[in-house]
Structure formats: C-alpha cells, structure tokens
C-alpha cells in the first residue's frame, strides 16, 4: 500500500506536536505547585500510564504495518512498553488509590524488571541490515564496553561514594535500586552502538529509541540516587524523564516504515564506529593513570578487568570475522579458477574436434595457434605451423591459378580493412604433396584496432568436383535436349506456316498450340541453363565499353515485333552514359524487361525505356502502364519461377526465370536491380550498372608493351615505396618478401627485370640470383642488386648495383635500361611436354640470346602467353591436357597473338586439312622423326629474323 509522503509524516508530526504540548503542560504543572500532593502524584503517575500505553500502541501499530521481517523488533519494543504501562498502572494504583499497602519491592517492579530483556531483544533485532552473528556479537560487545566504561565513570563519580555512605541499607534494596540504572546503561550502550551504525532512514527511529532510553535511564538513576539518600522523588522534575522517554519511544514507532533497500555501500563512518568504543576506555585508562590510588577499590578493579576482557573478546571477534572472509575469498578464487579451466578445456575440445582448419594469425600474418585439422590439411605438425608465416606455408593461388603475392593476399587485406571476408575459390599447398582447393573465411579480431585474424578453411576438392559434374551435366543435357527440339520445332513450324497442304482450322489450332508450347520449352531450357550458370557464378562475361543508347536501341529493335503484336508502343527516352558490360547479356536483360512490360501493358499503352547517369552509375529504367506489382512482392518477383498469380500466366507465357536471370546478370556486373516504388499505376523496374571508365592508373595485364618488374625485398615498407614508384612510371610490379617467393613467382611468370635485396630471410639475395640464373625461364632476366654496402664480390653478372639509401631517379633509369635490354630479346614460347627435349631447345635458343619460355601443358601455355606475349610459338601437338589444335584456336582468338609465327614440332604427320586448322601467322610444320632440333632451331631463327625486320609488336 503506497502512502503518500505527506500522510506518512503527517501522523508523526501530529503526535510529536501533541507530545510536545503535553510535555510542556506537565512541566509547567510540575513547576507550578498547583493542588495537593495527591493530585500532583496522580497527574504524574497518570501521565506515565498514558504515555507508556501510547508507546505500546505505537509499537504494536508499527509491528502490524511493517514487513514481516521487521516486525519482531517492534513486537519486542511493544512488549517492553507494555511492561512499562502495566507496571506504571500498578504503581498508579498503589501510589494514588492505595498508598498504604505499597511494599517495596512491589508487583510493579516485577514488570519493570521484565522491561530489560524485551528492550535488549528489541535493540538487537532493530537494525534492518541482517547483521551476521559476528557483527551482532561485536555490536553487543561494543555496547558492553561502553556500558562498562560508563559504569566505571559513574561509580567513581557518584555511586561509589554513595555506597560508601550507606552501610546499613538492605541488600535487596540496594540490588533493586542499582539494577535499574545499570541495566539502563546496558540498553543505552547497545542502542547507541546501533544508532551509530544506522544509515539513512533507519537513523531517526534508532536515535529516538536511544534517546528515549537515555531519558528513562536518567530518571531511573536520579530516583535511585535520591532513594538511596532516603528522599522521595515523586512529583519532582524527574518524572518528566520517564514521560519524555515513553513519548520518544512512541514517536520512534510512529516514524514511517522504511521499506527501501538498505544502502550497502561502505559507510564512511565505519571508522568512527570502530574507534568509538575505545574513547571511554581511553578515558578510564587516563583516569586510572592519574589516580592510581583508585585501583584499591575492588569494584573499580573488577570493572576495569571486565573492560579489558571485553576488549580482548572484541579483538578476537574481529579476527574471527577476517579469517572467515579470507577463507571465503580463497574458496571463491579456487572455484573460479576451476570454472575457467573447465571452459578452456571445453574450447580446446571444440577446436580439436572441428573438421575445418582453424588458425589464428597475428597482425603480421604469423600463425599463433592452429588446430589439428589445420595441421592435417596443410600436411604439417602444429608446432611447425605456430610462428611461421601463413602465406609462405600455404602458397595461396587465385582463380587464375597464379601464386598470390603477399601484398595482394586477401588475409592481409581483410586485416587492414577490419572486415571479414570469404574466399570461395582459393588454392592452398599441402606440404610434400599437391595443391588443393580451399574455401576460407577470414575474421579479423580486435575491434577497431585489428590485432590479428582467425582463418577457417576447408578442403573443397569434392565440392569442386561435384560442381564441375553439375556444370557438365547441365551443359550436356541442355545440348541434348535441343537436338530433338530442333526437329520438333521445325516440323511444327512448317505445318503451321501453311507451306504444306492447307490444314483444316481445328488441326491448325492444335498445331498452333504445339508450336507455342515448343517455343516455351526452348525458352525454358535456355533460361535454366542461364540460371544455373549465374548461380554458379560462372556466367562468362565479355565486357566492352557500350554506349547506353546503343544497348537500348538493340533491345527495342528485338522487341518491335512483340510490341506490334500487343498493340503497345515502345518509347526510347533519354540515353546517356557508357557502361563496361557484356553487350549480348545486357541486351538480353533490357529485352527481357521490355518483354515483361509489353506483356503486362494494356492495349494501346506505352512502355518507356531510358538511361541516365547518376553518380558513378548509369541508371536504366523500364516503365509500363500495366497492373503494377504490389509492394510486398517487390523482392519476390526476382526469385526463380515467381509469377504474380496463376491467373494471367496463360497470357504471359513467361518461364518465370526472366527476372531472376536479369538480376544475376546485373549483379554480376556489379549493379543493382529493383522495382521502383513511385510509378503508380504501372510498374517501373530500374537497374544500375557501374559507369565504364577504365582506371588509367595501373597498366593492364593485357598490354604486352608493359614491362614487369619483380621486387624482392623483405621489408614491407621499402617494397611498397619502390613498387609505387615503379607503378607510377608505368611498370607492372610484383612483390616478393623472400627469395623462395621470388623464385616461385619468377618461375611462373618470368618478369622483365628483378630488383633483388641482398639481405633476405631464408635464402639470401645471391643464392636467389644464382637460382634464377639456373632456370631456363629466368636465365636472361636482368637482375639489379639492392644492397646496403658497396660492390664486393659479384659471382654472377648483374645489370646494376644500387646502394641503400636508394636514389630513386637512379633506380628508375637503371630499371629502364635493364628492361629495354630485355625487351629487345625475342621470346619464344616452347610448348613441349617432354622435359628433356624442352631443355635442349631452350639451350639452343639461349645461344642466340633468345629467351625460351617453357610450358609443358596447354593450360600452362595459355597462362604464360597472357602475361608474356611471345614472339614465336613452338608447339608440340600431343599435350597432356589438350591437343595443340585447341591451343592454336585460343591463340587465334586473341588479337595480340593471332599473327604470331607458329612452328609445329610434333610426332604427328599432318595433312593439309590439319595444317589449315593450325594457321596463325607465318607457320612451319616439322615432324619429330624427320627433323632434328638443330634444324628446328635454324628455322625458328630465320622466322624470328624475318619477323624482327618487318615486325610490328
């Protein structure tokens, strides 16, 4: 029950005012000696009864209102107040109504004696913070110490001398009349001890209670004092002490109940509280020190001894408390450590049991941990992995099957961007075994300041195989399906065309249906093939710069027939911008959108198509005036086989895949396609494509006149600086961080020049140069040494020696000279799977300073020829992965390579037809059994000479 703040204190205030008024009245009454002695006594004793009853009632009320837990202290206090009330009533009876029969001690005293246990009990249970038994004991001992000290002092000052004077007084008399003040001292001590400990709203009631007992104690002590001196105290001002005491107890009970949670913060006064008991002790000791004679009094000695014992007890209680706390803490720590160990163990089990390889890398790409699966996949032990460079161990390759240089490693990129990445088509190297295809997930860790990454990877050999099988299946099946469809379509078309004998109308109708269905089937097969390829990400795009206007015109042209058929007008609006895209696919997309728009337009309606430049994109839109697409279908229409509802499909006859294919094509170009929300009624579909602006900065791979420089330098910053400088001057730069990496990269794609730092981890610069010289492929590549020292020994010839710190313009001119040198040397691509023969040929060519680049497979030859436009192709026809014909076909397809002189050196005897198929530039054909290598060499040189003289590179 929520009581408003005002009413909470209202009762208290009212009672306080009433008590104050009454008290003042009584005081006045006491001072002004009005009426007889009996009247005075009656008023005084009556006020005792009234106010002690008031206190009892207030306490019982508080007990009823309080939360269950807090009821006890009020019951107890109420009990104490009731004893006072009953005792006072009896006292009143005897004093006022039957004064002659009063005895001492009398029945009233019984009740007064009973007050003490109730009061002490109330004190001990009053604090709302549940005191631990230790704290409770301490509170009691503190109270006792203070009480004993007060007793000591009062004995010295008052009671002792008094007792000395009263030799003949009865023992009972003495006991009873000293009982009250002594017990009062105890109660006050405890109350004050607790009052000091109280915090917040607890404080007021506790202080009132303590004050109440102090008042009562004063009255008791005063009465005892007077009684021992033989005086009667009734009617004296001491009466007020009791009255006020009862009033204060009642007011304490009337303070609004505190139900709020106790403030558990450390009480700043805790220190004061701990020190407080020592103050009276200190006083005692001081007094003893100054008046050592007192010690002869046995009582005083007894009290002093008691105080000392209490102090010791208190100290031991504190000690016990501390030990308990410490023990508790240690247990807690033990428990937490155990929990932590369990957690770590569980995590380790998870990592150990994982089927995927999981490695942790630090910022520089070194492995910090690797789970057993990772070690197994990479063919190394866990210890080998930790601490090594992940890039070096895995030798990752990209989709083009080339080694990925460390600067372009997606792991490094992910860490520097702080963004997670998935690489779906990578290749890793298994130690002492082959490469295997991987899918990896890179997760940088560390939040804003990336401290490393966790890389999860798995072997996807099987999945790749399955994907390949699926692709082949789809391709073969779609091809197989087309063959019977061809005759079906053909026969039906002829029937429908009316070129054969006229068919009667009903049969004509049937044929019409058959033709339409066949057309639908054909479209469906095409679409399925497209969708599968898009889903596999294998849509091959042949990109070129296309003006948007041309695209739109072609698409509109294709749709002219359909538009006329549906009586719909197609309007081409503004067409700005140029995109870098596959023409056929884009026209297919726009035509598809137009076809939908036409089909869904009302007869006589207009379809609008346009293209505008918008920021970095070109925005295409196709709008119709048809029924529109409800907002909740805007996403769903791009899904496979999504038709709005079945009702209009017969009219529309779509395959349901058109928009899905459009989305696939647009997204693969890096654009977005969506249903625009603002054309109502009707539908507008928009898509964006990035503008076709080729970055003019980096030289493209395809340009054969661009020279490649391999920079082998282990310091990443130096490598970056040199690389940027060379790239800015039009070179293509490949970076390597170690000799081994440089060798691997150079063996794949021989560069036009190599910049070699001498100090490298692993094999040093000299050893690397030596290795380069020993490979045919790289023998003639000019090497420029970069070193911190001046030229010392030079076991192999180098183009130039550059000292650190590098003079950048000197570097540029040296590289330029080296490349120019190399460029003058003709390059022959030798495609021969017999390594012995290949070596022989290479050596023969090397004699003439001709760079022989060797590939033993057709795929390898393709890769090499992409980056390194050869001046002549020496081709064996029987290759492991293909016949030479396919390779020649590929070459013919490339504008750079279609005029390359071709020398076929094969075991096959070729007839004219085959020779015709192998045409590139000027061609010569030799059979291995008939012609020896030296003759081939001669012919090749002749060809090269004629070519160089009249060459256009």
């Amino acid at each position: 029950m929520v009581v408003s703040a005002k009413s909470e204190w209202g009762l208290f205030r009212a009672a306080a005012i009433a008590c104050a008024v009454a008290g003042a009245a009584l005081a006045v009454f006491g001072v002004v000696d009005v009426g007889s002695e009996v009247a005075t006594r009656a008023v005084a004793d009556g006020s005792f009864v009234v106010f002690s009853t008031f206190a009892a009632l207030a306490c019982f009320r508080a007990a009823r209102l309080a939360v269950v837990r807090r009821r006890l202290p009020w019951w107890l206090l109420g009990g104490a107040a009731t004893c006072y009330a009953v005792g006072n009533a009896i006292w009143f009876y005897y004093q006022v109504l039957s004064p002659d029969t009063q005895t001492f001690p009398g029945p009233a005293d019984v009740f007064f004696v009973l007050v003490v246990p109730f009061a002490v009990g109330a004190m001990l249970t009053l604090p709302s913070r549940p005191l631990s038994p230790a704290a409770r004991a301490r509170a009691v001992s503190d109270g006792l110490i203070v009480g004993a000290a007060l007793l000591f002092l009062s004995w010295i000052l008052v009671v002792g001398p008094l007792f000395g004077q009263l030799g003949e007084v009865s023992r009972t008399y003495l006991t009873v009349y000293s009982y009250y003040p002594l017990t009062d001292i105890v109660v006050i001590s405890i109350a004050s001890g607790l009052a000091v400990r109280a915090t917040g709203r607890e404080r007021l009631p506790m202080l009132l209670v303590a004050a109440g007992f102090v008042a009562i104690a004063c009255a008791d002590t005063g009465i005892s004092y007077l009684a021992l001196q033989g005086k009667d105290a009734a009617g004296s001002g001491l009466d007020l002490g009791w009255t006020f005491g009862y009033m204060l107890l009642g007011l304490a009970a009337l303070t609004p109940a505190w139900n709020e949670s106790v403030d558990d913060r450390v009480d700043p006064r805790a220190l004061v509280r701990e020190v407080l008991p020592y103050v009276p002790v200190g006083i005692i000791l001081l007094v003893t020190a100054f008046e050592p004679g007192r010690l002869s009094d046995k009582v005083l000695v007894g009290i002093l001894a008691a105080v000392l014992v209490l102090l010791v007890i208190r100290h031991m209680l504190t000690l016990a408390d501390n030990i308990r706390l410490t023990g508790g803490l240690e247990d807690l720590v033990r428990e937490r450590t155990h929990e932590l160990e369990q957690l770590t163990h569980r995590h380790k089990s998870i990592l150990d049991g994982a089927g995927d390889g999981i490695v942790g890398l630090d910022r520089s790409g070194q492995v910090t941990f690797a789970n057993p699966a990772a070690a197994a996949l990479l063919g190394r032990s866990g210890d080998e992995l930790v601490g090594s460079s992940f890039h070096e161990i895995t030798r990752p390759r990209g989709t083009d099957a080339n080694l990925v240089p460390v600067d372009l490693d997606p792991i490094a990129a992910a860490m520097s961007e702080g963004q997670a990445r998935v690489v779906a088509d990578g290749t890793f190297h298994r130690s002492a075994s082959a490469d295997f295809p991987v899918e990896l997930t890179i997760s940088p860790v560390g939040g804003d300041r990336v401290t490393g990454a966790v890389v999860m990877f798995r072997d996807v050999t099987e999945r790749r195989a399955v994907d390949r099988m699926k692709d082949e299946f789809v391709s073969v099946v779609s091809h197989e399906l087309r063959t019977p469809l061809t005759s079906l379509r053909g026969a039906l078309g002829l029937l429908q065309g009316g070129l054969l004998r006229d068919v009667e109308p009903k049969a004509q109708r049937m044929v019409h249906i058959a033709v339409d269905s066949t057309d639908r089937l054909i479209r469906l097969i095409n679409d399925i093939l497209d969708v599968e390829r898009i889903a596999a990400g294998k849509l091959s795009l042949h990109r070129e710069m296309l003006p948007a206007g041309d695209l739109l015109d072609r698409a509109v042209g294709e749709m002219r027939g359909l538009a006329a058929q549906n009586h719909v007008r197609v309007e081409r609006g503004v067409a700005d911008g140029t995109v870098d895209a596959d023409a056929d696919r884009l026209v297919q997309t726009v035509a598809n959108l137009l076809s939908n728009a036409i089909k869904f337009s009302p007869s006589g309606g207009t379809v609008l198509v346009s293209a505008v430049e918008r920021g970095n994109d070109v925005l295409f839109s196709v709008s119709d005036e048809g029924v529109g697409i409800p907002a909740d279908h805007h996403e769903a229409v791009f899904g496979r086989f999504a038709q709005l509802d079945g009702s209009d499909t017969r009219e529309q006859q779509g395959s349901g895949l058109g928009l899905a294919i459009c989305r696939g094509i647009v997204e693969q170009h890096g654009g977005r396609i969506w249903v625009s929300g603002d054309s109502v009624p009707g539908t507008t579909i928009c898509f964006t494509l990035p503008k076709g602006e080729r970055a003019a900065v980096a030289p493209s791979y395809d340009d054969p006149s661009v020279a490649t420089v391999l920079v082998c330098e282990d310091d990443a910053d130096t490598r970056a600086v040199i690389g940027e400088l060379l790239a800015a001057h039009g070179y293509r730069v490949v970076g390597a961080a170690s000799g081994e990496e440089a060798l691997a990269l150079a063996a794949e794609n021989p560069p036009d020049a190599v910049l070699m730092d001498l100090t490298l981890p692993g094999i040093d610069g000299w050893a690397t140069v030596g290795a380069l010289r020993s490979l045919d492929l790289t023998r003639h590549v000019p090497v420029l040494i970069v070193s911190g020292t001046d030229p010392g020994r030079a076991p192999v010839d180098v183009e130039a020696w550059l000292t650190k710190p590098l003079d950048l313009s000197g570097l540029l001119s040296a590289v330029g000279a080296a490349v120019a040198d190399g460029a003058a040397r003709p390059r022959v691509l030798v495609v021969e799977d017999d390594p012995a023969l290949a070596q022989v040929l290479a050596a023969l060519f090397a004699k003439h300073g001709v760079k022989a680049v060797h590939a033993s497979t057709a795929t390898g030859a393709l890769r090499l020829s992409r980056d390194l436009a050869p001046d002549l192709l020496l081709l064996d026809l029987l290759l492991p992965d293909s016949d030479g014909f396919a390779l020649v076909d590929w070459f013919r397809e490339d504008p750079r390579l279609c005029r390359v002189p071709l020398v076929v050196y094969s075991a096959l005897e070729l007839d004219d037809a085959e020779k015709a198929r192998l045409r590139l530039g000027p061609s010569e054909f030799f059979t291995k059994t008939r012609t020896n290598p030296e003759d081939v060499e001669r012919q090749v040189m002749e060809l090269l000479d004629t070519m160089i003289v009249g060459a256009v590179r």
Partner: protein, 125 residues
Amino acid sequence: MTRRVLVVDDDDAIREVAQMALELVAGWKVELAASGEEALEISAADPPDAVLLDVMMPSMDGPAVFARLQADPRTHGVPVVLLTAKVQPAERRRWDGLGVAGVLTKPFDPLRLAEDVAQLLGWEE
C-alpha cells in the same frame, strides 16, 4: 538460277526439316549429307553455292569439315554457315576466327531459316 545448298547434319530428322524449310520457303535446291566425309565427297564432285554445316558430328566435326573444304582448291571459296546447339558465347567466339560466314543456333524457326542464311551469305532473296 536456283541456288544449291548442301545441308550437313548427322540427325535424320533435322536434315529433313531443314530441307523442307529451305525448299518450301526459299525455293532452293537442297542436297543432304549425313557426315563430314559424305559432305566432302559431294562438294568435291559438284561444289554447291553454300553449305549449312552442323558442328557436333561424330567422326569429323563442323570446323574440321570446314578446314578441309578450305584446303581443297575445288571447294575453297564455298561459303559455310555453321549450325549449332551450343549457345554459350565463349564457345561460339571460338569459331569467329575460322572464317565461316556465320553461325546459327538450333533450334531454328524453319520459316526464317532461309532468310537468316541468306542474310549471312549476303544473298538477296
């Protein structure tokens, strides 16, 4: 003078439909060959005005036949149009450099076949 076209395809039905289509629509005289070898024999004996050549055939494929035709002086200048069920642009571009007059896709619309062929060959029909 009536144009003479040689249609080469290993599938009987397709041969027949193609013949029908070209004869009925354009009025050309159509000869048939079921294989590359047969086609070469026929053309060598009496070179046609054009050859409609299927790509996927068992023993000798379209391009091979074309190469042979080009190699033989008698049939050297005969224009060839390839016919294929393969639709992937990458594969089709392989034949661009061959020197054929064009490539048509299967399935075709029989009523438009003659027009498409004529367009590729530059015939005005």
